[in-house]
Amino acid sequence: MSGIAPINHFGTQNSTRPFPQELYQEVPLFDSTTTNSQQRETIESLSEIYSIIITLDHVEKAYLRDSITSSQYTNTVNKLLAQYKTYLSNEDVSKAFQSLNDFKTRFNIVASNAITRLERGIPVTVEHAIEEDVEEDE
């Protein structure tokens, strides 16, 4: 069925440009002929990593605006950081992930608070506690 408004991605009218055959049917996310169960597992791990980043970003922001307590924050962030490391300890996952920067660019992730936290590797509360200890020792 052709609709009354052929929404055209490229803005050309009545184009006869050839589309790849695959586009004339539903494009599956997983294709059983090209995606085996191991690749699928890797993709699932990547989806966990992605969701950790997105979630962590909001937890960071919530702490900064005092919506959650320090202990709630510290526990949750420790858990998320540990999960992040665990997923990346798998060789296939780490290979597909490349680097935090590559992953961020490829999936268009805007989450600067989370990126900073992942780079530091510890909750901001712990970071400050260490700084205070150093000051006390001096």
């Binding site: 069925m1 052709s2 609709g3 009354i4 408004a5 052929p6 929404i7 055209n8 991605h9 184009s15 440009r17 050839p18 589309f19 790849p20 695959e22 586009l23 004339y24 049917q25 539903e26 494009v27 996310l29 993709i43 699932e44 990547l46 989806s47 966990e48 992605y50 969701s51 950790i52 980043i53 997105i54 979630t55 909001h58 937890v59 922001k61 919530a62 605006r65 919506s67 959650i68 709630q72 949750t76 998320l80 490829r106 999936f107 268009n108």
Partner: protein, 77 residues
């Protein structure tokens, strides 16, 4: 429910799919943001926020991977 553009379609099924996926991606961002607002207002607890945001985040990753796949096919035109 009345949707005035229900009859519109694109040139191929794959392109229709792309539209749906892009809309889903944006809707997922809106919803996660909404959950964050609920957390800030104390309507949901942190553990519930984390659980739900992780779930929606996973969905968003798969949606973006799917968009990447279809966009890759379009580049071959």
């Amino acid at each position: 429910e009345y949707d005035p553009l229900w009859m519109t379609t694109t040139e191929t099924i794959g392109l229709n799919q792309l539209y749906t996926l892009v809309a889903k991606d944006k809707a997922l961002s809106d919803t996660i943001n909404m959950l964050y607002q609920m957390l800030n207002r104390g309507i949901i607890q942190l553990d519930i926020f984390v659980k739900k945001s992780r779930e929606l985040g996973r969905q968003q990753f798969l949606t973006r991977l799917h968009i990447e796949k279809i966009a890759g096919l379009l580049l071959r035109i």
